[in-house]
Amino acid sequence: MSHATKAAEFNKNEAKVNWHDKALWYVREKRDKSAHNVQGWEYLRQLGSKIKANVLSNLDEYLIQFEANAKKNGIHVHWASDAEEHNNIVNDILSKHNAKKVVKSKSMLTEECHLNPFLESRGIEVVDTDLGERIVQLAQEPPSHIVLPAIHKTKEDVDELFQEHLGTTPSQGNPEYLVGEARKHLRDKFLNADVAITGVNFAVADTGGVVVCTNEGNADMGVHLAKAHIACMGIEKIIPKEKHLGVFLRLLARSATGQPITTYSSHFNKPEDGKEMHIVIVDNGRTEQLSREDFRASLHCIRCGACMNTCPIYRRSGGHSYDYTIPGPIGSILSPGKDLKKHSSLPFASTLCGSCSNVCPVKINIHEQLYKWRQVIVKEQKQPMVKKSILKTAGVVLSKPGLYRIAGKTARFMLKNAPKFMIYNKLNAWGKARDLPEVKGQNFDDWYKKRQKNG
């Protein structure tokens, strides 16, 4: 199913779409405020981008160095070429520990590898412990956003899910109550888990350690209680030196949610006495992406989600419409590299306004890569199909007057700064057909408060 068709489904509930749109724009605004507070923010982004470019140009050496240093500290290092190998390695480690209960903290990589169903079919209980991830797990859905996995769910949805699965009493979606119940439910899971699996935000070549960032403390609750820790990382998570964390940790949370840093930034260098630590290093298509000069920089991504929060199409079509582990602008440049045919509509799910590239903390030229993928797709696929998919995206998400309210700043920025050929090129039906709608009405804050009051 194309992005447009799925976006149409999401657009059936207008109130929810409006909320989704505004909530994410509010996060984007928090990001702006937070970034403006940092002396030298633009220089910091430049550094982030240059360090990542250096990493990619020397990645094999850094991986070898990382492995050697990790091993020196008693960490077991494994390598997986693809998802299947990754899942088998994790399963082997679990078998060795006779593990039946696993707690997992957020990891887009294990989503990408479909680790949960793989382990569950082998009789292992896998519990996602990030609250948002737990919510979508109970709903049997994939996350719809890489930082805010349950952003598509209302508090009433969560209330119902918790009644069904955790036996809570109806609370009309009282967040404090629901979080409290989730805390109890997951605490029990932490205390009874055999092994903890985490993702990796940064892997430091010169120390062999990994850093995991959470706000909830779920990674640490899992790791420090279980007898073994498995950290799963894509090859591109490497950074050369520990000091570079000083650059990336300053960028990450501010770009993601507007916080100056996540509540917990945990540095794992050695397992606790009597415990085991494993790191699984995964390729799964990344070296292939590395070979594509035009698209290589997509591997700079530190998964902050800022490009999603700012994207007018993402905000009004929802993460699930992308039908790929990583949705939004970054997902739309990563996914064609994995399966060009399946994801051919994604590079068209964009106005090419450039807002994504503008906020990206590691300066990925996202909108230019979207444009380049369109050219690849036009070359490789029959024209009529392509045209249809462009018109559909534009038609569904953008051309419903009153439904689509592009946020003013983005629009103005785009008209001022995006090269004409990008707005008015043939592939962009939107640029041709429409004027930008005015932004009116209350901001998210007011709207939200009002909504709270009305129940």
């Binding site: 609250l131 769910k153 508090k155 706000n215 609750m221 420090h224 000083g246 070979s291």
Partner: protein, 201 residues
């Protein structure tokens, strides 16, 4: 067209080979010009403001009044672990061999941190500060004692300060645990500590 070649059981060699073949020419690692980040600000006040903004409690106190302050903050706690000599309020002693699961009912943990970061209100806590790594996460409430002179401007400076440490486990903690996963409503107290108080001496 585009497919991922499978080379099973050869994970390491095949990945490294593929990286070598596909990587671009070497691009230099940039030097970091830290002068760009210099700011003439009051480190202490900025630290306090940022910590409050992330939901933490912070107070400058006299070293002698640590326990009095903690008793005011947490009047009715029974299971208390203190891993610092600066507080005598501990009711439960732990050591390196304490089974982490036995800490499940700890009401309050009192720890010392080695470093604070002005730009984000974070404090650096190591495995040796915690004795048992899970302590600052599993405790219901957390009190951290920090020397005022150990506050630095930003994260790059923080990494200079901790560059020579013994590396096992360490964590920057900024405020109490929190989540906004239910309709973006901020709720304090997710899985980690429900509250964080930093006492500056």
């Amino acid at each position: 067209m585009i497919g991922i070649k499978k080379d099973r059981k050869m994970g390491r060699e095949s990945i490294l080979k593929s990286v070598k073949q596909n990587k671009p020419e070497l691009l230099q690692l940039p030097d970091i010009n830290e002068a760009t980040f210099e700011e003439d600000i009051n480190l202490l006040e900025t630290f306090k403001n940022n910590l409050k903004a992330v939901g933490g409690f912070v107070k400058e106190i006299d070293e002698k009044s640590i326990d009095t302050e903690i008793k005011v903050l947490h009047s009715n706690k029974t299971n208390i672990v203190s891993t610092t000599k600066k507080s005598a309020l501990g009711t439960i002693t732990i050591d390196k061999n304490t089974e982490p699961h036995t800490l499940e009912n700890i009401d309050l943990a009192i720890l010392e941190a080695e470093l604070g970061v002005s730009e984000n209100g974070a404090v650096w806590v190591t495995a040796s500060n915690s004795i048992v790594r899970v302590l600052p996460f599993i405790t219901n409430d957390l009190v951290i004692i920090l020397k005022k002179e150990n506050i630095c401007l930003h994260m790059l400076k923080a990494y200079d300060q901790i560059a020579e440490r013994y590396r096992d486990f360490g964590v920057f903690i900024s405020g109490p645990s929190k989540t906004a996963d239910i309709e973006q409503c901020l709720v304090v107290g997710a899985h980690g500590a429900m509250s964080l108080a930093v006492l500056l001496i």
